[in-house]
């Protein structure tokens, strides 16, 4: 069944339900059930998108984050999380010079007011001299991460969702330059 038909089913069910003695048919029931599942499985509601001001002018270097610990690059305060929100997904677009191998570490932090939950991810940006097929030469890098939410402490309307990152020259402990472009986060259902 297409999404459109499912929506249609959810729409025309309402007047019928207003009459307790109205006859129901199996097909209508099946459509209602599918509509319920569709509704719960597509709870990908945007927490927000943060775009950084364009500060990469000519002759100006991007930001240097710490080379060893996560620094906050985005935040959304007082986020509502329901029990059926199964995970938080984040996608960040970062600009890095591609003349050196850069390893980016990205972390999602969700503080539900009682417990702090974290999930980390790593992305290696090869330099332009790497062999063919190594995805070399990227200046704008997409890094994504998923945090699975535990059912404990939910629901809450006061959760804090943070995105933290740091970047190093690969194989070293030297901070790599990078500039934040845009960062988005979603709440996703089961």
């Amino acid at each position: 069944m297409s999404d459109g038909l499912i929506y249609q089913a959810a729409t025309y069910l309402q007047p019928l339900l207003a009459q307790p003695d109205a006859p129901a048919v199996a097909d209508l029931g099946a459509q209602a059930l599918r509509a319920a599942y569709f509704h719960q499985q597509h709870q990908a509601t945007l927490i927000g998108t943060q775009t950084y001001p364009l500060r990469m002018r000519v002759g100006r270097v991007p930001s240097f984050l710490s080379s060893s610990s996560y620094q906050r690059i985005a935040e959304w305060c007082s986020v509502h999380l329901a029990p059926h929100h199964a995970r938080v997904e984040v996608e960040a677009w970062l600009a890095v010079p591609f003349v050196v191998r850069t390893r980016i570490y990205l972390r999602i932090v969700v503080d539900d007011g009682v417990t702090t939950h974290t999930s980390t991810a790593t992305e290696l940006v090869p330099d332009h001299g790497d062999p063919e097929g190594a995805s070399a030469g990227r200046g704008l890098v997409r890094v994504s991460n998923v945090l699975t939410l535990p059912a404990t402490n939910l629901p809450t309307s006061a959760a804090q969702v943070r995105v933290e990152a740091y970047a190093v020259l690969d194989g070293t402990a030297t901070a790599a330059p990078m500039a934040m472009a845009a960062i988005s986060a979603w709440r996703v259902g089961p």
């Binding site: 207003a18 048919v25 059930l33 709870q43 305060c77 309307s157």
Partner: protein, 180 residues
């Protein structure tokens, strides 16, 4: 008349081919939909806005929205869709204000304004939030703005992060559509 919302369990076998369907089954489905829908308020707008180091040391510049004027200054203007199904919206903010200085951060949504006051020295990790009813803000595509103003002292306050989002709707407040 409010619509029923139930945090229930729907078995897929109830609606298997050949199974009888009762009116209560349909009501269960509708109540389950209403429960999930009422607890998925939208996040309308938000972001970080601090100077370098706003999160932890060496966090990058995220907008550098400071407040050092006793005159109200508009720092953000945007439009956002406030659905008529929402009952209330919440504005939350975090600010860094030095001792002896007080700033206000006022978020106007349509016809209503939510004002938060930060008295220095603030605890920068603390989030301050306030709500406005959609019956007061109005609904649809609304003009919104965020205004900062220093109301006491001579220091410079910084708005670190802010969010504007809908609030979940409690079961008893879930209004039925006009055709029910």
């Amino acid at each position: 008349m409010s619509r029923q919302a139930i945090d229930g369990t729907l078995s897929p076998f109830v609606f298997a081919l050949g199974q009888p369907i009762y009116a209560s089954d349909m009501a269960d489905v509708a109540a389950q939909l209403a429960y999930a829908g009422a607890r998925c308020p939208e996040h309308l707008a938000g972001g970080a806005s601090g100077a370098a180091g706003w999160g932890t040391a060496s966090s990058p510049d995220a907008g550098n929205v400071t407040c050092s004027s006793n005159t109200a200054s508009t720092v953000y203007e945007f439009r956002c869709w406030v659905d008529s199904d929402l009952l209330a919206v919440q504005f939350a903010a975090r600010a860094d204000v030095p001792a002896g200085t007080t700033i206000t951060v006022a978020c106007t949504v349509g016809s209503s304004t939510i004002t938060r006051t930060f008295v220095g020295a603030t605890t920068t990790t603390t989030v301050s939030s306030g709500t406005a009813l959609v019956s007061a803000t109005g609904s649809g595509l609304l003009d919104c703005s965020i205004v900062v103003q220093r109301t006491a002292g001579s220091g410079t306050g910084t708005l670190l992060a802010w969010s504007l989002h809908g609030l979940p709707i409690a079961n008893g407040d879930l209004v039925a559509p006009p055709n029910e």
